[in-house]
Amino acid sequence: MRFVDEYRDADKARALAAEIARLCGPGREYKFMEVCGGHTHTIYKHGIEDYLPENITLVHGPGCPVCVIPMGRVDDAIHIARQPGVLMTSFGDMMRVPGGGGNFFDSNAEGTNIRMVYSPLDALKIARERPDVRVVFMAIGFETTAPSTAMTVLRAAKEGLENFSVFCNHVTILPAIKAILDSPDQRLDGFLGPGHVSTVIGCEPYRFIVRDYGKPLVVAGFEPLDVLQSIYQLMLQVRDGRAEVENQYARVVPWQGNPTALKVITEVMELRPYFEWRGLGFISHSALRLREEYARFDAERLFDLPGVRVADPKSCQCGEVLKGVLKPWECKVFGTACTPETPIGTCMVSPEGACAAYYNFGRFTRARVREASVR
């Protein structure tokens, strides 16, 4: 497949891995965080850790959109879906995210109509075709998906649709990275920057990470060679004692981002004073809501939400995993009480979640895997 296969070349990977190994200082440990869940998925799906020396550890960051949705918001969504005449829509991997009283599948089994869509425009299409139902789109995601939600609201406004609204749960990545950098237990050597988010916000906003915290950041693509190349660039920076923002994913990410997309977001949405992140707690100015002008499309204003904060289960250590303090397998309930079948924490739900990725793809000692797969 063009534009994919050339970034999955095993020979190039071996060459790059040898370069990375050469850069490793003796007895030194390196910890890099991949901020984005898409990277976590790539790392496990292609077995990238097999290429890395033992002293390089990848820490899985908070950039998995469904992983950071707090349980109370899931319950709120189900509450909306229970209102008469409501058809709730959301992205596929939202369907299994547990709320305080079950997930969307369970809710549907009790009679709600929560459907999977691939884009907010699909939800809009349903609203257009079914004037008899109130279509609500549960919007989730970082700056990557926020522009399409905003565009959809603008389109709904233009068409004068009255049976469409958005339950907005968009979050922004920078406050989360800052929260991680400020947490006293982090020991990171650098970041793989989120490629998709950067297509929208560009590379400039990461400056504070190098300036205030002295950590290098390389905006990385999502094919396995992209990830290896970015780790190589981070290793070079560490070796040279540099901390810079670099753009490995320049074939997709313009340095200045996408001003049109940013403008659309700003036109329709504004920052919330604070928002709860699963596992990370309340982070100020870390999420978006619809502006007053678009109140008629805002499900939060149209429906009376319980808005009850549901505490994470005590046994759940998603927060530590999201901050990179714990490896997924170090969590008390990993793989026993918390599995992809019965996720307690959101990290186990999405295939981008650190725990689910580790459980599905990596849950085995590297040594034995290597042994078994040698021909």
Binding site: G47, G141, K327
Partner: protein
């Protein structure tokens, strides 16, 4: 990797082996997706109530000895939307599905029954063309539809047309097929490119806005190609058609039941570019996508070439390929050597593969 991680992983393996109970209070869509939720439901509800030695292996068809003949019996229900799709419709799917369950059990399919649940309002013309394609599929498979049933439900209580078929076949080959024969060193063969049916259906539903020109469902009766394989070699350990849950689910069933490791070479798995492209866009793995005319065979390693030649000599096995092999360790797991050169676990999904958001 340290000792503590190993301890945790051992604990997880023990947890995985325990028989799970159904935790949900109601049936959800995941219970029908062919993954973990489905097998949990079958174990906890059906096997619990119906337990008997014929059912317990949970194979595609039960093998029954009646008098001096060995018969295979199977049943399957079809609820596909849309009813008509590129390459077939619910009618030939319903015939081929049951024919294939019999065929991969080593039986020659003989007779089918067909039960219809029709929704008020279904155009008779649609039903006629469904019946016509069932008849054509039955003729192609050499089976007769010998009994049937028709029910009509109120509008809104069915999806146009649901079909159940049951089939009986006779086992004529002398070999005993089953996971108990699987040994380390055996080869894993898939009979052709995978995922055609599942991706065709996803695209035919039309809510993705993508098209794959020329891609059609792979629905086909497998008895002929299976017969060619069984005639060519006595080294076939077992076969399974890769329907719901795809090839990955079949491989996991083999690994789990035979207590062996299954090591798959990702690059060796045949996938059409259209299927790969669509799956890549949706963020799903073709290994988990349903086929309706492909099967996985475990074959004695020494017989690999003969088996492959036999399959490739049949039109429905022309794209057959060796995708991996059976190893002793780690038992119960499917390992995938990725095209990128890494290795990962390929586990059973809980429900349907859910598209990733970004």
């Amino acid at each position: 990797m340290n000792d503590r991680e190993q301890q945790v992983l051992d604990r997880i393996e023990r947890a995985r082996r325990r028989r799970a109970g159904v935790k949900e209070e109601r049936i959800t869509l995941a219970h029908g997706a062919g993954g973990k939720a489905t097998s949990t439901l079958i174990d906890a509800v059906f096997l619990e109530e119906f337990r008997n030695p014929r059912l317990e292996p949970l194979t595609d068809a039960a093998e029954l000895e009646i008098g001096c003949s060995r018969l295979a019996l199977s049943t399957d229900s079809f609820v596909v939307t849309p009813l008509f799709f590129p390459g077939g419709d619910i009618g030939d799917l319903a015939v081929n599905g049951t024919v294939n369950d019999l065929a991969v059990s080593g039986a020659r399919p003989l007779y089918l029954t067909a039960g219809f649940i029709l929704e008020e309002g279904l155009p008779v013309a649609d039903l006629e063309s469904i019946a016509a394609s069932m008849a054509a599929a039955a003729e192609a498979a050499g089976v007769l539809v010998v009994a049937g049933d028709t029910k009509v439900v109120e509008r809104g209580k069915g999806d146009g047309c649901y079909i159940n078929t049951a089939g009986v076949g006779v086992v004529e080959h002398p070999w005993r097929l089953g996971t108990s024969g699987v040994r380390p060193g055996d080869a894993l063969i898939v009979s052709g490119p995978i995922g055609d049916h599942g991706v065709t259906i996803m695209l035919a539903r039309g809510d993705l806005g993508i098209e794959a020109e020329g891609l059609v469902s792979d629905t086909a009766p497998l008895h002929g190609v299976v017969d060619a394989l069984l005639t060519a070699t006595s080294g076939v350990r077992m076969m399974r058609d890769a329907t719901r849950g795809g090839v990955a689910t079949v491989l996991n069933e083999i690994a789990r039941a035979a207590e062996v490791a299954v090591v798959v070479d990702e690059d060796a798995v045949p996938v059409r570019p259209e299927v790969r492209g669509a799956a890549e866009l949706l963020g799903i793995d073709p290994l988990y996508v349903a086929c309706e005319g492909r099967f996985v065979a475990v074959v004695d390693g020494a017989e690999t070439d003969r088996a492959l030649a036999a399959l490739r000599g049949h039109p429905l096995g022309a794209g057959a390929a060796v995708i991996g092999r059976v190893a002793a360790d780690p038992p119960g797991l499917v390992l995938l050597r990725t095209g990128f050169g890494g290795t990962r676990i390929c586990d059973v999904l809980v429900g349907d593969p859910l598209p990733r958001i970004c």
